[in-house]
Amino acid sequence: MTTDPDAPLRPDLAAAHAEAWASLSQPGNWWSAGARRALAVTAAHVMWSADAPPPWVSASGVPGTLAPDALEHAPAAAHDAAARLARHAATITRETYGRIRDALGALAYVELVGLVCTVAATTSLRRSLGLPPRDPDPAPRGPAGEPARTDPPALAEATRNWVPVAAPADRTAAVVQALTAVPGAHRLLWRLAAAQYVPDDEMVDPRWTRGTLTRVEMELVATRVSQRRECHY
C-alpha cells in the first residue's frame, strides 16, 4: 500500500495489508485465482457503491453490477453471495446461509467469507486514508491459478457458528473459530486483525496501546462501526 507522508503506515500494518491485497488474486484452497479476483471485484464494487442492489435482489441480475467477465470466472451464485456479504451481511440468516452452502459448498463459502472480509479491510483503509481505489493484481492463469484443494482439518459442527469449524468446536469465541475450516483464510484474517486492532496476546490488557489510541478510544471506534453495520455480535 502506498504510504502518504502525512499518513504514515506502521510497517506491520503495511505488510499485513500488502499480503492481504495480494491474496485477492492468488489461488485459494477452494477457489481459483481468477475466481477469487472476480469475486473480490464484485465485493468491492457492491460494498461501497452508492446504488448497490438491496439485499433481496441478486446482484448478478442487476445490469452493470458485475464486471463484464465476472461470470467467466465464478458462478452467479458466488457473485450473489459475495455481494450479500459485502453490503448486507447483517441480513444473512441461517436459511440464507443454507441456500448458499447448498449452491457453493460449505468450505467454499467459508473461504468466500474470508475473501470478502479481506476486501472490506483493505478497501476500507484506503478509503479512510484518502487513497484512490485500485483493482486487484492480475490473476495467474493455468495450473498456477488452480485452487490447492488440500484436505481440510478435522471438522466439527459448531453451536456458536453456522459454518463448520476445525474440531474441537466451541472452545473459543465464535469469531475466532469462524474460519478455521479454511486455515489459510483464518491465518490471513488474524494477521490483519493483529495489525489493525490489538495483537492476540494483548487482547486481555485494557491498558495496552501503540502510543496513539488508548484501548477505550479503539473500542469507541469499533463500537460505532459495528453499530453502523448493525452487527449484533
Binding site: R127, W162, T212, V216, V221, Q227, R229, H232
Partner: protein, 108 residues
C-alpha cells in the same frame, strides 16, 4: 469491549448514547461515520474533514490507527454475520442490549 475497557480504565461510558469521557471522542466518531459512508461526494468530503480534524487533534499516527480500527471492524462485522457467530458471553450480550444491538436484524 468498550464498557469493559472503560470500566477498567475508569472512563465513563454511556453505551446507549455512545458518549465516552475521552477528549477526542466526537472526532473519532466522525471518522468512523465518514468511513462507513458509500461512494460519492458527501462521503469523500466527510472523510477528508474527519481526517484533518483527527490529525489536528491527535496527530497523523493516531489518525492512521483509527482508520485501521475502522478497517478491522468492517472486516469483523462481515466475519461475524457471514458465519452466523453467536454471542456466548452474558456480559457481552448485556452490553449489546444497552447499545441497542438487540434491534438489529443480525441478532441471533
Amino acid at each position: 469491549m468498550l464498557s469493559w475497557s472503560g470500566e477498567t480504565q475508569q472512563v465513563a461510558v454511556d453505551l446507549a448514547s455512545l458518549r465516552v469521557a475521552v477528549p477526542h471522542a466526537e472526532t473519532l466518531l466522525a471518522l468512523a461515520d465518514a468511513a462507513t459512508l458509500p461512494d460519492g461526494t458527501e462521503g469523500e468530503v466527510a472523510r477528508a474533514e474527519a481526517r484533518a480534524r483527527l490529525v489536528a487533534a491527535m496527530g497523523p499516527r493516531a489518525m492512521v490507527d483509527a482508520a485501521a480500527v475502522v478497517a478491522n471492524f468492517e472486516m469483523m462485522t462481515r466475519l461475524a454475520d457471514g458465519t452466523g457467530a453467536v454471542l456466548h458471553s452474558p456480559d457481552r450480550a448485556e452490553a449489546g442490549r444497552l447499545a441497542g444491538a438487540d434491534a438489529f436484524t443480525s441478532r441471533r
